[in-house]
Each structure stands twice: as C-alpha cells, then as structure tokens.
C-alpha cells in the first residue's frame, strides 16, 4: 500500500493537517479569539507568521484551530454520505425493480433542492452544533454517492460471476457484500475527493450564512469569508486559509485516486 505514490503523498498531506489540528495549542503562541485592534490587518511578520485579520487576531492560530472544526466536520459529513450513499446505491442497483424506482425518485427530490438550501433546512431544524453540522452537510451529499454506487452496482449485478455465486447458493446479502460492493467501491472512492472539497466549502458557506459553528470557534471557511472584504488590502487572511483548504482537498484527491488504484488487483500487480 505504501508503494503507491498517490496514497503516500495524499496521506502525508492529510496527516500533517490532522497533526496541526491536534497539536494546535503547541504550534501557536496566540489565542485564536484574542482581539488586538492595535495591530489589525498586519501583513505576515516574525510575530504573526501569517499576519492578522481585521480584528487583529493571529491568522495562523485561527487556521490551526480552524483545522479541528473543518476536518472533523468534512470528514464526518463525507463518511455519512459515503456509507448511506453506497449502501442504498448497492441495494438499489442489485435489487432493481420497485426498490430502485422508489429510491431513485426520492434521490431525485433531494437533488432538486440546491445542496446549500438543503443544508440550511437541516441545519435550522437540528440547531447549530458540530454534530448537527456533520448531518446537515453530509445528507445533501448522499445523492452523489448514491448515483455513482447505484450505477456501478447496476452493471455489476448483471455480470456472470453474480449469477455464478447465486448458483452455488449465496444469499442476496452475501452477493452484495462480497461481489457487488468490492466492485463498486473504487468508483465511489474517486468521488470521495469531490465530496471532501464540497463539504469543506459547504461548511464555509454555512458559516458565512451564520448557521455554522457558533462564534468564536474558527473554521477555515469562516476565515476565508471574514477575510473576503479585505481581499485587496490584506490578502493574507484569505490566501493562507484558502491555501489550507486547497491543500487538504488535494490530499484527499490524491488519496482517493491512490485508493482506487490500490483496490484494483489488475493495476496493483502491474505497478508492483
């Protein structure tokens, strides 16, 4: 698994991000919510490595602490979406018929709403907290994973080895777990990176709309949004927080691609 360069690079980036999130108190010398109006919108310097924002708060501290919220929420949200989406998709693609039809229409209804609107509705219904945030971001992502998993499962279900497994007496559950799922997951992993990016951005948007994590806890999306007004006079706030978002998404992209290749026995033996 470590031979795969994509997994290695992606894993390293994500490991660094997780390390920053966990070790935030050790890596920073300022409180993330400490206001200092005397030194607001200061460019990066020795005392503030990434500068300060419009309230004079240390940007690096806010990013390091923001990693906690951003990573937890986006990871948990994508996890919720992957588990629900693949499960429903595999069942739908394998059973076909009525179940598939009804599921398909329900998913269509979900997709008819803009994701952000759906997040708002769920977020407003559940109330603001980190756990509810995971749901309000994760649930609108389900259709992406459902569609990919369902499409893949639909075609895999018609292959001879599925019939062959049935002929030796396998149950439907067994066929879905042993034969359908392993052939569907690689496709799902490719969408994983897309989902990660989407959920980090969704968390940012919700934060901007005031339905995010309650202040003063920072999150990357929130930092970007707050800095947006000073893009031209103090670009470091948005630039650094944006950089961290981009890097994290890149990490998940690499990891998703690598996992897809790693899970395919054909590609694995070629590269080994």
């Amino acid at each position: 698994m470590l031979k795969n360069k994509h997994i290695l690079a992606g894993g390293a980036i994500i490991a660094v991000m997780i390390f920053i999130a966990i070790a935030a108190p050790l890596l920073t010398s300022y409180d993330f919510s400490e206001l200092d109006f005397a030194s607001k919108n200061k460019p990066p310097a020795a005392d503030h490595v990434m500068g300060t924002d419009q309230y004079g708060r240390d940007v690096w501290s806010r990013i390091a602490y923001g990693a906690r919220v951003s990573l937890t929420v986006s990871l948990a949200a994508v996890l919720i979406a992957i588990v629900c989406g693949s499960f429903l998709g595999v069942v739908s693609g394998y059973l076909k018929g009525k179940f598939d039809f009804i599921m398909g229409r329900l998913i269509d209804i979900m997709m008819a709403f803009p994701a952000i609107l759906l997040s708002l509705i769920i977020g407003a219904a559940l109330g603001a907290s980190i756990r509810n945030m995971c749901f309000s971001i994760g649930i609108p992502l389900i259709p992406i994973f459902y569609r990919v998993a369902r499409g893949a499962a639909f075609s895999v279900a018609d292959r001879t080895f599925v019939m062959a497994s049935r002929s030796i007496g396998s149950s439907g559950v067994r066929i879905m777990i042993w034969h359908i799922l392993p052939n569907v997951l690689p496709q799902v992993f490719v969408v994983l990176s897309m989902g990660m990016g989407g959920s980090i951005l969704a968390e940012a948007s919700l934060g901007f709309l005031g339905l995010g994590i309650p202040q003063p806890t920072p999150s990357w999306g929130l930092i970007v949004n707050e800095g947006k007004a000073f893009m031209f006079t103090a670009p470091w706030t948005t630039a650094f927080s944006g950089l961290f978002i981009a890097l994290t998404i890149l990490g998940f992209n690499l990891l998703g691609d690598g996992l897809r290749d790693h899970l395919d026995p054909k590609l694995r033996t070629l590269s080994a």
């Binding site: 019939m163 002929s167 392993p182």
Partner: protein, 332 residues
C-alpha cells in the same frame, strides 16, 4: 417418454420462459424463449443440448436451475419439484446442482483471489473451518489440474483455460451430482477445448457426475454426450441416443445441422440449399412448425399445425409431421 422406468436424476416438464419486450411506441410484446421443453436426464449420463445461437439454450440452463424464474413448468430433481420449493430449501439443493458458464472472463469476481473464489461455495454452506477449507481447495486444485502455488493470485493473471478450470473447481467444491455446462468450452481455443473436455470426462468418472452439456458446436456435443437433444426456436425438435441420431436422422432441421459439419458427405452445393433463408424473427414466429419457413420438405400443413414430439421407437423422439417418411440420409 420411454425412459420413465429408468433411474432419472432430473426431469424437466413443460418448462417455458417468455420475456416481455417493450416495442417502440406503446405496449409490449411477449416473446417465447423456451417453449414447453420436456425431457429427462438419467443418472450418470451426459445429455447434449444443441441448437443455433438464440434458440434458447442459455435461457434454458438458467431456468433449469431456477437461477431465473421460469414462466411455467416444473423441474423434478430426484423426484422433488424445485419450482415448488421454498427458497431456503432451494439453496440447500443447489449444492447438488451446479453450472459452469460460457465466459470464463466474466464468471469470476476480479477482486477475489483464486483461493477465495474456490472456497466460496464452502463458506456459503458453512463447511469446515479455515484450515479444512484450505485443504479442500488444495485438493480441488489438484483435481482440475491447477498448481496450488497460484492460489493467492487473481483471476486476471490466468489464461482462459485456467479460469475455466477454476470455475470447474468451484462447481466441484460441494460434491454435486449434476452439472450444467453452458457453452463451457465455446470461448476457449480449440486445443484448450480438448483439454477441458477431457478433464470433464475424467471428473465425471471420478465423481459419478451427470452432465447437461449445452453447446452450439455439434462436434463438441458429439464428442461429449451420450444422448442429444436438438433445440430450435425454443423447442426440442429431436431427442435420441447419440449413435441413433447420427445414423437415423428424423427431423429436417437436425439433418440440415448435421450436414453443415464439414466432411459430412454432402456436396457443398446441396448443403447450402438445405438451409433456406435465415432463422425467422422471434417476433413473428411461424404458426405451425417453427422450421417450416426454412424446410425444403415443407408442406401445407407444416405452416398451420405445430408438430408434437413423438416417440418414433427406442426413445428416439422427433417433432415433425413427416418424421420417418423423409429420406434424410447423411451416410454417417
């Protein structure tokens, strides 16, 4: 049929499968892929089922084991109707009845190792622990002529012949009594075909198996089978012992089929003349005998009345109004 008193392993009765095909515009049509097929297979024999592509052979192999539900009819396996069985019982009885499919490239899950694939039947039926299963897989590999050293590999690393050997190993895992070989060698090179056919013959002797051998290739069926059924347009049109069929053809379609074997004794001109036109469209099947549109001996009544399968003596059945009256001599 004449074989009622013999030791029958499996009996198919009036098996029928129709498919709904939605036509352009409104409504849908029903096509009949398998049309009231009845025959039985004796314990220990190899029954060959031949027919051209699209005649319903593969559909038959699927409904024969209830992998796909038949529209009507029954299958009596050792006297019990598998179409009247609850699903739990059906899964149990599937240990006895196995199938090898045509395409060895699609019939193995690419994400499982050879060992996992060969052990799957054992896991499904909860036989043995890990060590016992491994032992059984090793002996299966030996039985089908695969080296045990490749057990950890994946299917894509095998050749077509090796894959088919693995498929056979899977079917043997539960010590079945009856195996359907659905075009099991058709996708393979001729030299590999011979190897697999010989392997199948050896295994049959070793494990007292009964085969239903389905193929479009007459030479292969001739080599492998004891009795042969000829299928045309979803129906069985002639059944006979192998030697009887080749020496005393009763149905014009069988005649045309046999004469198509290169070197069958007919001149090329005559051979070509035998099979007129193409197979009729499945959407407007001829009213009477399905072969009437292509049969050089076709008379008025052939187009009106469908013939039934009649026993012409010694278990040789044919579905032709003029069976026995036509001069169908191949000199084989």
């Amino acid at each position: 049929m004449a074989d009622s008193g013999e030791d029958l392993l499996i009996r198919f009765e009036e098996l029928t499968k129709t498919f709904k095909v939605s036509s352009r515009g409104f409504g849908s049509e029903r096509i009949t892929a398998v049309d009231h097929v009845s025959f039985s297979i004796r314990r220990g024999e190899t029954f060959g089922l031949v027919g051209e592509s699209g005649c319903g052979k593969s559909t038959f192999s699927k409904i024969a084991l209830r992998l796909v539900e038949a529209t009507s009819g029954s299958v009596f396996y050792e006297g019990r109707d598998i179409y009247k069985m609850p699903f739990r019982q059906l899964r149990e009885i599937r240990r006895d009845m196995q199938v090898v499919f045509q395409d060895p490239y699609d019939s193995l899950n690419p994400r499982l190792t050879l060992e996992e694939l060969a052990a799957e039947p054992l896991r499904v039926h909860k036989q043995g622990g890990k060590a016992a299963r491994r032992e059984r897989v090793e002996s299966l590999f030996n039985d089908v002529g695969l080296p045990t050293s490749i057990m950890g590999r994946y299917p894509h690393q095998l050749s077509g012949g090796q894959r088919q050997r693995l498929c056979i190993a899977r079917t043997l895992a539960l010590s079945p009594k009856f195996i359907i070989l659905d075009e099991a060698v058709s996708a393979l090179d001729v030299s590999i075909q011979a190897q697999i056919l010989n392997l199948l013959q050896d295994l049959k002797k070793q494990f007292n198996l009964t085969y239903l051998f389905i193929s479009h290739n007459l030479s292969v069926v001739k080599f492998a089978s004891d009795r042969i059924g000829v299928m045309y347009f979803g129906r069985i049109i002639e059944i006979a012992e192998k030697r009887e069929l080749f020496s005393n053809v009763l149905h014009p379609y069988t005649y045309a089929l046999l004469s198509a074997i290169p070197g069958a004794g007919l001149e090329a001109e005559k051979r070509r003349a035998l099979m007129q036109a193409g197979a009729p469209s499945i959407f407007n099947a001829p009213k009477g005998c399905a072969f009437s549109s292509r049969c050089p001996w076709s008379k008025d009544m052939c187009g009106k009345e469908p013939p039934t399968l009649k026993d012409m003596g010694g278990g040789h059945c044919a579905a032709c109004h003029f069976a026995g009256e036509l001069e169908l001599n191949l000199g084989l």
